[in-house]
């Protein structure tokens, strides 16, 4: 067994407004000169360390876990999992 690191990224669906992202873009970035920015979406990230036989198994465990325990709400969120070194 080896240790693996995964990043679980939970974001709101595109058709759900993200007032936090909108505020960051409008009132911080654009107001302070970064007017090249056209979109900001906020989200939540869970950095997970787990043991598995290999990276594929670690990723599968993460997907099973986030679905079984509703770590994201599929009605409102999209979830991506990245395996990281």
């Amino acid at each position: 067994m080896a240790k693996f690191n995964a990043e679980v990224i939970i974001e709101g669906k595109k058709n759900a407004r993200d007032p936090e992202g909108e505020t960051i873009m409008r009132d911080l970035m654009i107001k302070h000169g970064y007017d090249m920015v056209s979109s900001v979406r906020s989200g939540k990230i869970l950095k997970i360390t787990l043991e598995a036989k290999n990276e594929k198994e670690a990723e599968d465990i993460c997907w099973n876990m986030v679905n079984e325990l509703r770590i994201y709400n599929p009605v409102a969120h999209v979830c991506t999992i990245k395996m990281v070194k």
Binding site: G12, K13, N15, A16, R17, P19, E20, T23, L69, R70, I71, N73, V75, A76, H77
Partner: protein, 238 residues
């Protein structure tokens, strides 16, 4: 015989005692406030189950998700499927959504702030266990107190919800219209509360228990009482 109901208390429930007061002292019901670990043994001996407001488990990850995974909720789900009346107020509504008993999601308010204020609720259907003594179109003054109350559902889900008459209340302006001003949290289609297909599971973000006596309201109204009277009526009709 007075109604006999159970209020399930979780770690972080904070509106449990207000709810007990409204149902016991205002309505004259027999009410037991029971710790969630104990509650699962006795649920079916009551007429209805209440999940109160609060911040269970600190709202960690998402409001209601941790409580939704407690063993008592497995039992609540079982009973709800058999037609047992189950009511969730505020955090209780969030728990019902996270446990899959009600559809949709309750996400952060579009104001990005916790919001505590009076709202106007328009009764959209009288078939739910919590609105059957009201008239469609009635406007209730009931306060909200939440940070994650923005109801969200995709287009297909909304269509079904509307077609199946599952939207129970919408936030409206003082003149009863569905407007952005009347919507305190950005809920899609101004939805404040919904029920399941059968109408026995009802979730509502505002707090009827805080509007159940005229002394609690700036207008001298007690519209929250209609919520509890509806349940009484639902139960008597069988």
């Amino acid at each position: 015989m007075p109604m006999r109901v159970i209020v399930v208390q979780f770690s972080g429930s904070t509106c449990d005692r207000d709810l007990v007061y409204a149902m016991k002292d205002v309505m004259g019901w027999e009410v037991d406030l029971v710790w969630y670990k104990e509650a699962q043994k006795h649920l079916e001996s009551y007429d209805a189950i209440f999940l109160p407001g609060g911040f269970t488990y600190g709202d960690h990850l998402r409001a209601g998700i941790i409580a939704a995974y407690t063993p008592v909720m497995d039992k609540v789900k079982e009973l709800a499927k058999e037609g047992f009346p189950v009511f969730g107020i505020c955090n209780g509504f969030q728990i019902l959504v996270e446990s899959g008993l009600l559809t949709g999601a309750l996400i952060g308010n579009d104001t990005l702030r916790f919001s505590c204020k009076w709202t106007n609720l328009r009764v959209e259907t009288t078939r739910s266990a919590a609105t059957n003594v009201a008239k469609k179109g009635d406007i209730w003054k009931v306060p909200i107190a939440h940070g994650e109350g923005r109801y969200f559902l995709d287009e297909k889900g909304l269509k079904e919800l509307n077609e199946n008459d599952q939207v129970v209340w919408r936030y409206v302006s003082d003149d009863g219209k569905i407007t952005a001003e009347g919507n305190p949290n950005g809920s899609i289609e101004n939805i404040a509360g919904i029920c399941n297909l059968e109408g026995n599971v009802v979730g509502l973000m505002p707090h009827p228990e805080r509007a159940s006596e005229s002394i609690l309201s700036p207008w001298g109204s007690d519209h929250g009482k209609l919520y509890f009277q509806s349940l009484e009526n639902y139960f008597r009709r069988g």
